[in-house]
Symmetry: C2
Subunit: 209 residues, 2 copies
Amino acid sequence: MFFDSEAILNMEKRYRAKFINCLSGPKSANLIGTVDANNKTNLSIVSSCVHLGANPALMAMIIRPRAVPRHTLDNLMETKHWTVNHVTSSIIKQAHQTSARYEKDISEFEAVGLTPEYLNDFPAPYVKECSVKIGLKLVEVVLIKHNDTEMVIGEIQHVHAPKESLLDDGPIHLGKTDSVSVTGLDQYHSLSTHYRLSYAKPEKEVEEA
Amino acid sequence: MFFDSEAILNMEKRYRAKFINCLSGPKSANLIGTVDANNKTNLSIVSSCVHLGANPALMAMIIRPRAVPRHTLDNLMETKHWTVNHVTSSIIKQAHQTSARYEKDISEFEAVGLTPEYLNDFPAPYVKECSVKIGLKLVEVVLIKHNDTEMVIGEIQHVHAPKESLLDDGPIHLGKTDSVSVTGLDQYHSLSTHYRLSYAKPEKEVEEA
């Protein structure tokens, strides 16, 4: 099937949102943990975390100011810290439930039944039930002027990952952390058929590492 | 295992790159097709495509100027157009091979054995072997000053997707398009256990849709 700009523009609003959201491909599913200045916790699912660089270790995420409640953005602007926690297959429903529009005085941790966890004096709460947990400090918020989304950039300060998921040369095996992937707004997948390929060089065929 | 900023800083450079690259979670695997002003084709694998918004329909990707050859960025700055093509399980090795540092006068299409395809007068080449194919027009390049990466923002102008993958209410079933996910620099996964959840509302438990 072929769709051009006009066909996309003519789609019903919610149909278009679901369609366009799938086009970038499978996405990461992360829970973002924050507190406000009064230590009230907040938790939200985000599928737009993206690697920015390894040195300095930076991660970004896209926040839509008008389409989602701004509690996460408000909190991290106030306290300058947040956590990124990989959604695992056993908590997909609770993680998805955090996308409901709860009032500001309700903590999604409590509402959906996940446990805030404070580790190594990091000022934002992790999700106890998650496998990979990352603590970030605010570096910059970049406004994308074309649609008023904001790209929040953080420096990776703390990382917690299960020992058995760490491969000898650095990577994390996300099958062993049970990290899931999300497509669009509501389709969840486990990862299967895991394999690694060798470093690619011209004139040499890549092979399984 | 716990790693703090100092532990991350002290990691050997390639170890750190592999480790940090895994932290955002499972990523999309896309092939970016471009031509230069002389219609010489180029193809590169990118794992940083991210949904920016549905109306206007925008997609972004992160390009590392120093770490990867700039052929893709040079081309899309010249011609203002590029394609995003979902990597499928049958072409993982060819897709990965495009990350080798080929000289500018070599087309990765030819070098790895994938077929450039021009559709509906779109000025950049798609990958014939891919299932979901998207044609984008340059909107803006945003420099991320903290590490000199660049976020390239494009407007989605054309979309090609298999009819059988289109769900009634808008989304694309990425199991049916055989789109794969990538972790870090070299781990590839198929998607399994696909399921959809209902729209989340407070006071209502989410369920399979």
